[in-house]
Amino acid sequence: MSDLASRLRSANLRPLLRWESGLAVVVALIVIIGSAASPDFLTGNNLFNLGLSNGEVAIMTLPMTLIIISGEIDLSVASILGMSSALLGYLWVHGWPLVAIFATIAVAGIAAGAVNGLLVTRLRLPSLAVTIGTLALYRGIATILLGPTTVASFPATYTNLGVNAVPFTGNDMTYSTLIFIILAIIFGVVLHATPLGRSIYAMGASAEAAQFAGIRVKRIKTGLFMLSGLVCSVAGVLWTFRLDTAVQNNGLGMELNVVAIVLLAGVSIFGGKGSITGVVLAVLAFAGIQNALLLTNFNQEATGIVTGGLLLASVFVPNAARWLSLLRTTRRLSPNRQLPEACSQARPRQPHEESP
C-alpha cells in the first residue's frame, strides 16, 4: 500500500491536483446551490435518478480517458453503444437466449474497437478521422439491424435491473452507478499505479519516445480501443434495459458528452495528462449541473450552455493561471535581479497546455 502511495506521490500530480481541487469546489458549489434552490436535491431518490440518467455516460468516460491520455480519441463510442443496443434487440426478436446475446454483444464491441485500433495503429491514420468514419459505420449497422422498429419486449428480470436499486444500498444506488464505481477504481489503479498506466502517459507525451523506451505503443493503443468497445457495448446493454427499448438511435450524439466530460476533467486533448480522480469529479459536476438545472426549471435541453461554458473554463483557466505566473516571473526578472530558484526549475505543464 505504501508502494502504491509513493508511486502516486512520485507522479507529477501537482498541477493536476490544482485543477482537480478547482473541480471539487465546483462540485461543492453545485451541491450547495442545488440544495438551496430545491429541497429535493440531496434526497436519496434524486441521487438515484441522477445515477440512472448519467450511468452509461459515466461508464463510457473511463476508457475514453485512457484513450485521450494515450494521445488518441474515440468518437465512435456512442455508435458502439447504439450498435450493441440494436444487436440486443435484433437477436432477442430472433429468439436467441440472452446469455448467447450477451456474449455476441461483447465480441461485437471488442471487434468494433479492434477495427478502430488497427486502422489507427497499423495504417497510421489519425484517430479523429477514423472514428468519425466508424461513428457513421457502427450507427449504420445499428440502423441496418433494426430499421425503424423498436424492440421493447425484454424479460422483466433484466429491465428491472435497469431501473431498480442494488440491494443493501438503501435504494440509493443504481446498477450502472455500482459498475461505474468498480470500474473507476480499477481504471484508477491501473492508470496511476501500474507500469501499464505509466506507459499510457508516456505514449501520450511522446509516442516516439515511448516506442524507443520499449513500450509496445501500437499493441497497447489497439488494446485501449478494444477495451473502449467492450465497455461501450456493456453501456449499450444497460441503456437498453433501463429504457426497455432497443432502437437504432439509442445514445445518438452522446460521444460529445463523453469527450466534454473527459476534457472538463483536465485531461489534455494532446495526451499525456489527466487523472481518473478528475474524471470522477467531472462526472459528478456534469451530472450535478444537469440535475440542478432540471430541479430549477431551467430549459433542460439548453443545459449545453453550462457544459460548453465549463469546457471553455477547462482550457482557459489553466492558461490564465500560466499567463499570470509568467507575468509575475517577468516582473521579478526585471533588471538587476537574480532568477528566483522556483523559476529556474522546469515549469510543470498544465492540462491542455499547448504542445511544445
Binding site: 468514419g133 457513421a136 494532446f270 430549459n299 504542445s355
Partner: protein, 348 residues
C-alpha cells in the same frame, strides 16, 4: 504552436520546394479518384434505374449538395490550418431560425437583407471561435466542441418550443432552391462559383498559401514570420459566416425550422472534407476536393434511394466509404513520401 490539433498523431510530409509539383499532381490524382468513384456510381445506378439521371433527381441531388458543399468550403479553410470547426451545425441552426424568423417579425423584408442577417449571425459566431482559438491559444477541437453546445443552447433558449413554418415564409424565399438555369439549380451554380473563387484564392493569394503553410508546420510558419494568429482567426470567421449563409439556405430548403435544425451536421461536413482528400491535420487538400466529397456523399444517398436500397443502409455505406477514402489517401501519401525520399538520396 497553440492552434494545433493533436499534432503528434500524424506528420504530413512538409511541402519542400521540390515536392510542390509532385504533391500537386497527387492532389489532382486524389480529386480525379473522387470523380472516378462518382462516375462509376452514377453509371451503375443509371444502368439499373434510368430515372436516376432524370432532371428531377439531378436537381434534387444538386440542391442537397449545395448547402453541404458550401459548409465544406468554410470547413476546409479551417482544417487546412490544422484546426477543426465543430460548431458549424449549431451555427446553421441558430442562423436558420433567426433569419427565417425575420420574415415573420418584419413582413415584406427583402431577401438579400435576410441573407445578410444570416451571414452576420454566422460571422459573429465565427469571430468568437476565432478569437478564442487564435488569441486564447487553446485547442480548436475543445473550443468548437464547447461553442457547439453553447450556440445550440442559445438557439434552444431563443426558439423554445416554437418553429417557423413555410406558411410564414414568402414564396420567393421558398423558391430559391427550386429556381434553375438550364436545369441546374441557381444555388448549385452560386456555390460552384464560390468554391471556384475559394480555390483560386487559396492557390494564388499569399494569405491563401499561408493557410497551407500554417497547416503543414505551424511552428515553422510562425518562425517564417507568417501572421499565424490572424490567418487562423480569419479562417474561423469565414467558416462561421459561411455557416450563417448555409443556415438561411437551410431554412429556404426545408421550410420548417425548429431548435433541432442542423443538429449533427458538423460530422457530415467533416466527413465530406476528409472524403474530398483534405488532410484532417492540415496542410494539404483543396476546396474543390471538399466540394466533390460533398457531392459524392449526396449522390450516394440519392443512388441508394433510387435503387430501392433501404435508406437504412446509407449511414453504414457512408462510414465505410469515409474509412476507405482516408485509408487510400494515407497509402498514397506514404508511397509518395518514400518515393520522394528515394529520389532525394539519388540526387545527392
Amino acid at each position: 504552436m497553440s492552434t494545433t490539433l493533436i499534432p503528434r498523431l500524424q506528420r504530413r510530409p512538409d511541402s519542400a520546394p521540390g515536392a510542390g509539383g509532385l504533391a500537386e499532381r497527387v492532389l489532382r490524382i486524389r480529386e480525379s479518384g473522387i470523380v472516378i468513384v462518382l462516375a462509376v456510381f452514377v453509371a451503375v445506378t443509371t444502368v439499373v434505374q434510368h430515372r436516376f439521371l432524370g432532371s428531377a433527381n439531378i436537381q434534387f441531388v444538386l440542391v442537397d449538395t449545395a448547402g453541404f458543399a458550401l459548409l465544406a468550403l468554410g470547413e476546409t479553410m479551417v482544417v487546412l490550418t490544422r484546426n477543426v470547426d465543430l460548431s458549424v451545425g449549431s451555427i446553421v441552426g441558430l442562423s436558420a431560425y433567426l433569419s427565417a424568423d425575420l420574415f415573420a417579425q418584419h413582413p415584406g423584408i427583402s431577401i438579400p437583407v435576410v441573407f445578410l442577417a444570416g451571414l452576420g449571425i454566422g460571422l459573429a459566431c465565427g469571430i468568437v471561435n476565432g478569437i478564442m482559438v487564435a488569441a486564447g491559444r487553446v485547442p480548436s477541437l475543445v473550443v468548437t466542441l464547447a461553442t457547439l453546445y453553447i450556440i445550440r443552447g442559445v438557439d434552444i433558449l431563443i426558439v423554445g418550443g416554437n418553429e417557423v413554418d413555410a406558411s410564414s415564409l414568402p414564396n420567393s424565399f421558398l423558391d430559391i432552391p427550386k429556381d434553375t438555369i438550364g436545369g441546374i439549380p441557381d444555388i448549385a451554380i452560386a456555390v460552384a462559383v464560390l468554391i471556384g473563387l475559394g480555390a483560386y484564392y487559396l492557390r494564388t493569394f499569399r494569405s491563401g498559401r499561408d493557410l497551407y503553410a500554417i497547416g503543414s508546420n505551424p511552428d515553422a510558419a510562425r518562425l517564417a514570420g507568417l501572421p499565424v494568429g490572424r490567418r487562423v482567426f480569419t479562417a474561423f470567421a469565414v467558416s462561421g459566416a459561411i455557416a450563417g449563409v448555409a443556415g438561411v439556405l437551410w431554412g429556404a430548403q426545408y421550410g420548417t425550422i425548429n431548435s433541432t435544425a442542423g443538429t449533427g451536421y458538423e460530422l457530415q461536413v467533416v466527413s465530406a472534407v476528409v472524403v474530398g482528400g483534405v488532410a484532417i491535420f492540415g496542410g494539404s487538400g483543396s476546396v474543390i476536393g471538399a466540394g466533390l466529397g460533398a457531392l459524392l456523399l449526396s449522390t450516394i444517398s440519392s443512388a441508394l434511394y433510387v435503387l430501392g436500397i433501404s435508406p437504412f443502409w446509407d449511414q453504414a455505406i457512408w462510414g465505410f466509404l469515409l474509412l476507405l477514402a482516408i485509408s487510400l489517401d494515407q497509402t498514397i501519401t506514404e508511397r509518395l513520401t518514400s518515393a520522394l525520399r528515394r529520389s532525394g538520396t539519388r540526387h545527392e
